[in-house]
Symmetry: D2
Subunit: 349 residues, 4 copies
C-alpha cells in the first residue's frame, strides 16, 4: 500500500484527489492538511465523501507528512516550493499539482508568478508529469510537476503534429481554449459567482496567462525546438468542469499530407495510450464525454481541405487536467498499473 | 457471472445502467436492444463509453434475451408488459425500470397510464423494488418493479415516521419535489430544451402526476394503512440530475416526541442501510452530494419546535432513483454483495 | 423630474435600479454612492450600462444626497438606519430596499438581525411598500420599507385567500420557496459560486430565515389577525433570477367553495392591479415569464378537489422582489403613473 | 404607424421580434402567422407577453399580409423565398430573418442549403441588412436580407481592419465562435436538450457551416476583394443567449502599426454607430453585457505585441444577431430614428 498525504485538501483539486484515492485499492490515505479546517472531518466539508473516509483535516506538519511515501500538493502557487525540499530530504516523493516546479527557468517562473522562487535548484530535477510525453522520467522521479489543465489539453492535442514536424514554423499556432469555472478554484471571488459566470462567456488573460510559458516550453520540447510560440486565448464558460481546446495550425507543406494520413498519424501516436482517445475523423468531442474521467479525447479536422488543421481536444480539467493525471503519475512512480483507480466512466448526462 | 440484457438502451436510464454495469465485476453484458439504433455501437451514441464496451445495439429479440439471467427494461410505459411474460416463461428474471408493474391495482394503472394492461395477473407477483422496504421479497422475485424517482425519495424520507405512526392521520402530508431535467428522459420535446428549462423553474402535474398513486400505495403499505394520501407537487429545475424532496408532515402528538428523538428514530431505522445516509440534525443536503452515487441523504428538521416536521431527502434520479437501484435489486436477486458495482463517490463539484 | 440618489449601487439591486432608472422618463439620476468604488464610472463596473449613464460612484455624503427628492438604499442590513434620519430631517424621502424598516417591532428586528436598531422610533412611521396592500399609505410616506423578495411572492400569493378568511386558522400554511442565486447578492462567498450552486439544489434557513417574521407580520395584517404563522422553507436553485413560491393552505370549509370560485376571487382581487397577473386555472407559471419584468404571476390549483389549495406565485426577485417594486413605490410617492419606467417585457428565452 | 406582419412567430426570433415590437411606439402589429398555432393567442404560447398584446396566430395568408407596410419572415430556410415575390408585387416591403436572400450567388445558396432557389432573380435586389456596412441601401430597399448571427459578430469585429487593408492577405483569419443554444432555434431536437447541451461544450460544423459563405462574401466586399476566406469554427455553449467571436488575424506589416493606433482605428470607424461599442483597450467583453440589448461590444488585443491581432466581439444572437437588427433595419427603411424601440439596457445579472 502506498502511504499518501495531501497538503491543501479543501480546494477542488483536493476533493477530486480524495474522490479518486478513497477508491484506489493500492493507496492508504494517511494525512490531509488544511490550515483553515483543522480538526474538521473531510466529509463534513464535502458530504459526497460521507461513508468513504473518516479522515479529518490536520495542521500541515512535516513529521506527519514524512511518514508518507508520497505527498500531493494541492495548494496555491508558492506553497509547495517552501515545503518540498524538506520532504524530499526525508525521502518522501512529491507530486505537486501547483505550478511551482513546472517551468525550468526560474527567471521565467518569477516573471509570471511574481514572487521569488525559493528552491530554483530543484527546477532541474523536477519532472514534468505528462505521462504521454515523459513516462520514463516520471517513473524515477522524486518530484513531479503535475501539468496545468490548459497545457495538458493543448500539448496532447498538438504532440503528433509537432513530433512529425508538420507545422509551418513561421506561422503562429492558435489555441482557443474554453474552460469550466472549476478551473478558477474554490476561492470566493466575484467573477466565479453563478450570477457573474452563469449564462455568459468571456475571454480572459488575452495579454498573458501563466499557462502560456508552460505550453510554449512543452511545444518547444516536443517539436525539438522548431515551434516555440503560440497565440493562446482562454475563455471562461458557464459550466462546472471541462476544457475544450480548439487548436489551429498551418501545415508546412499542405500538399504533402492528406487528412486520412494525419488521422493515422494520431492513431499511431496514441495507440498504446489508454487515456488518450483519438476519435474517428469528423468527430466533435463534447467535454461531458470525459466528465469525471481521466481521458483526453481528440478529433482531427481539416476544413475545406485547406492549409489549416483544426484539432479538438477535450479533458476534464479536474481529472486529466489535475488530480487524475496526478494519480496516473503516482501509479507510474510506484510501479502500479497505470489505470489503477482511474478506470472511471464519464458521467453522461 | 450474471448474464445481463438491456431492452431500450438509448435513453438516460439505459446509458446509466451501462455506466454502472460495464464496471460491475459480476456482470457480463450480453445484449442491448434498440429499434432505432440497430447495429450502431453503443459507444458511438454515448462516447463516454468508448473503451468500456464493444457492444452494439441489436433488434429486440426474445431468443437473444432468453439467454440472459436477467433483463432490464429501460423503456417507456407499455413496452415491458408486452415482453415480460414470455421472458419469465423462459426462466429469465426481469427488472423493469418502467412503471408497468409498480401499481398493484390494474384499474389504477390503466387510469393513470391511459392504456390497457396486457398482463394484470403479473401485478400480484411483481415485487416493488425498494430494497430498504422490501429486501426479502426482492431476493426471491422473478419480476421486480423498480420504483420511480420521486417515490424513492419520498418513501425513504417518510418511512421512519410512518412506521412509528407519528404522523397525524387527518392532515395531509405535503411532498414538494424538485427534479432535474433528466427525469424527463432523452426524448426530443420542447419543454426540455436548454432554452426552455434553463434559468427558470415551474411546477407541473399539480392536478395529478403518475407518481402520486405509486407514492400513496407505498405510504399506505409502510404506515399499515394509516396514511393513504398526500399532496404532491413536482417542479422542473434547471439542472441535469437530482431530486430534492421537501416533506412536510404534522405530528400526531407534538408533545410526545422531541427533535432529537426523531433524529434517533431515523438513525436507527437506517443504521444498516448502506445507501441511506441520515445526516446530522440541521444538515441541508445538496443534490450534488449524491450526483452519480446510489445514496439517499436525509436530514430531519422541526422549524421553531412546532407541530410540523420537515424532512429533506435527496437522490440522483438516475441512480438511486432508477438505474442504481435496479443494479442494487439485481445484486439482491443474485445474492451478490448489495454494494457491488455501486461503490461510487458522488461527483462534486 | 424626480431627483434620485442611490446609496450602495454596486450590488445586484443597485445595478437593477440603474437599469430601470436610466430609462425612466421622469427621473434624473443625481448621485450614486459606493465606499469601495469611489470615482469609478458606473459603466466600468457594469458594462451593460455603457452609453446609458455617465455617472460615477461617489463617497456617501449627506450633503449630496440632501439635494435629492428621494434616495434609494440598496445596502446591507444596518446601513440605512444610520443615515435615514438625517435625510428625512432634510426633507428627503427614502425608499429602503434593505430590511431595516420592515418589521414594526424593534425587538423582533434585533432578534433576527442581531444588532441594535438605531432609530426604532421610525419603525412606526415607515410604510411597508407592498403597493397591492398599502398603496394609499405609500403615497404619503416619507419612508418606505421595500419588501423582501420571498415576502412579496408569498403575500401576493395568499392575499385573496387571507382577506376572504378561507384558510383554516389552526393549520399551518406551507410556503415552499425556490430562489435564484442573485437573491444572495453580489458578495463573494463560496456558497454562491457557480461550482457550488450550479447543477444542484438545497434548502437553507429551515430553522429560521429573516424573511419569516416579515411574512408572518404581513399575513397577520392581511388576515386581520386570524393567520399569524406559516412554515417557510427557502431553497437555492441553479439559476440567476426568479422566485417560485409554492403555497399550500387548507381550506377552513372545503365544501363551501369551489375551485372556480377561488379563481374568481383571485381575478377580482387583482383586477385593477397591473403588476399582478392571475393566470387561467391550471396554469403553471415559469419564473422566466417574469425575468426582468415587474410582474407577479399567480395560478390557483386544488389537487384532486381536496382540502388543500395550492397557489403558485412567481416573481423576478430583483424586479418585483426588489428594485422594480422600489420604482413602483417611487412612482406612487411622486404621483407619477404607476407603470412609468416599468413597462418591460420579460426576457424569454 | 408602420403596419407590421410577422410570418412564423413561434420560434425564438419570432418571440424576440414581438418583445421588441410591442413596445415600439411607431409600430402597429397587424398580423402574426403560424400554421401550427392558428387561433391561439400569442400570449398563451409566450406568457411573457401577457398584457402586452392581444394578437392571436393566424393562417399565413397573402391578403392579410398585403395590408402591412412591412412583413418580417422568421421562418426556416426555404419558406420566405416562396412568399416574398407576391408580397413585393403587392407593394409590401420585406425583412427576411432567414437565410433565403443572404447570398448573392444562387448556386452557392443551393449548394449550402440543399434546395433549389425559387426566385434567384431577387438575390441581386435584396440588400444585405448590416446597417453599419449598408445603411444607405437598406433605406431604399424593398427586400432586406437580415444577416445571420455569426456573420454579424464576425463582420463587425473585422470591418475596420479589413477596410484599412491591415490583414495579411495570404494568411487565414480564424474566427473561433461560441454561441448559446437559442441559436439552434425552438425546434425539439435532442442536441438542444438541457441534459445534452448543459454543462458541456463542443464544436460543430467544423467541415462547413452555412454561415461560412455568408461571412466570406461579407469579408470580400468589405476588404475590396483582398480577403476572401477564413477558418470558421462554431461551438455550442451551455447558455441561452449570446455569441462571442474570438477573431485572430495576422497583420500584413506588424511594424507599421501599434495597438493604440488599431484601437483608434476602431474607435473612429464606429464613432457614429450607436449599436457598436468599442471598449477600452484591454477590455474583455462578456456576452451578458449585451443580453437582451442590440449592441455589439468589441475589444482589440495584440498578445505580446506580436503579429497577431485578437478581436473580441460579442452580441446577443437574438437581438443584434437577429430580431433587434431586423427592427433596426425597419427603422432605417421607414425613416424612423434608428434607435427607436431598441434603447434597451442589457439584463445583468
Amino acid at each position: 500500500m502506498i502511504k499518501v498525504g495531501i497538503v491543501g485538501g479543501t480546494g477542488y483539486t483536493g476533493v477530486e484527489l480524495l474522490r479518486l484515492l478513497v477508491r484506489h485499492a493500492g493507496v492508504e490515505l494517511v494525512v490531509i492538511t488544511s490550515r483553515t479546517e483543522v480538526g474538521r472531518p473531510v466529509s463534513a466539508l464535502f458530504p459526497s465523501l460521507r461513508g468513504h473516509t473518516d479522515l479529518a483535516f490536520s495542521v500541515p506538519d512535516v513529521k506527519a507528512l514524512a511518514g508518507c511515501d508520497v505527498v500531493f500538493f494541492a495548494t496555491p502557487a508558492g506553497v509547495a516550493m517552501r515545503q518540498v525540499p524538506e520532504l524530499l530530504d526525508r525521502g518522501v516523493r512529491v507530486i505537486d499539482l501547483s505550478a511551482d516546479f513546472r517551468l525550468r527557468n526560474a527567471g521565467d517562473w518569477e516573471h509570471w508568478y511574481r514572487m521569488e522562487h525559493t528552491c530554483p535548484a530543484l527546477l532541474d530535477e523536477a519532472v514534468y508529469g505528462l505521462p504521454e510525453v515523459n513516462r520514463t522520467h516520471i517513473g524515477h522521479a522524486r518530484l513531479v510537476a503535475n501539468p496545468g489543465c490548459y497545457p495538458t489539453a493543448v500539448q496532447l492535442g498538438l504532440k503528433p503534429l509537432l513530433e512529425a514536424q508538420l507545422i509551418c514554423g513561421e506561422s503562429t499556432i492558435v489555441a482557443d481554449c474554453k474552460s469550466g469555472v472549476s478551473g478558477a478554484g474554490r476561492g470566493a471571488h466575484v467573477g466565479a459567482l453563478l450570477c457573474e459566470a452563469g449564462d455568459s462567456i468571456h475571454a480572459y488573460g488575452v495579454e498573458g496567462h501563466r499557462h502560456q510559458p508552460e505550453i510554449e516550453q512543452g511545444l518547444s520540447l516536443i517539436s525539438a525546438g522548431t515551434i516555440n510560440r503560440l497565440t493562446f486565448v482562454p475563455h471562461l464558460l458557464p459550466m462546472i468542469r471541462g476544457i475544450h481546446a480548439t487548436l489551429y495550425a498551418r501545415l508546412a507543406d499542405p500538399e504533402a499530407i492528406s487528412l486520412p494520413e494525419i488521422q493515422t498519424l494520431y492513431e499511431k501516436a496514441y495507440h498504446d495510450e489508454h487515456f488518450v482517445d483519438v476519435m474517428p475523423t469528423g468527430s466533435l468531442p463534447e467535454t461531458r464525454s470525459v466528465r469525471g474521467a481521466n481521458h483526453c479525447r481528440i478529433a482531427v479536422h481539416r476544413p475545406g481541405g485547406g492549409d489549416t488543421v483544426v484539432i479538438l481536444s477535450v479533458i476534464d480539467n479536474l481529472v486529466k487536467g489535475a488530480s487524475g493525471q496526478a494519480v496516473q503519475n503516482m501509479n507510474i512512480m510506484f510501479s502500479r498499473p497505470e489505470r489503477e483507480g482511474l478506470d472511471l466512466v464519464a458521467l453522461l448526462p
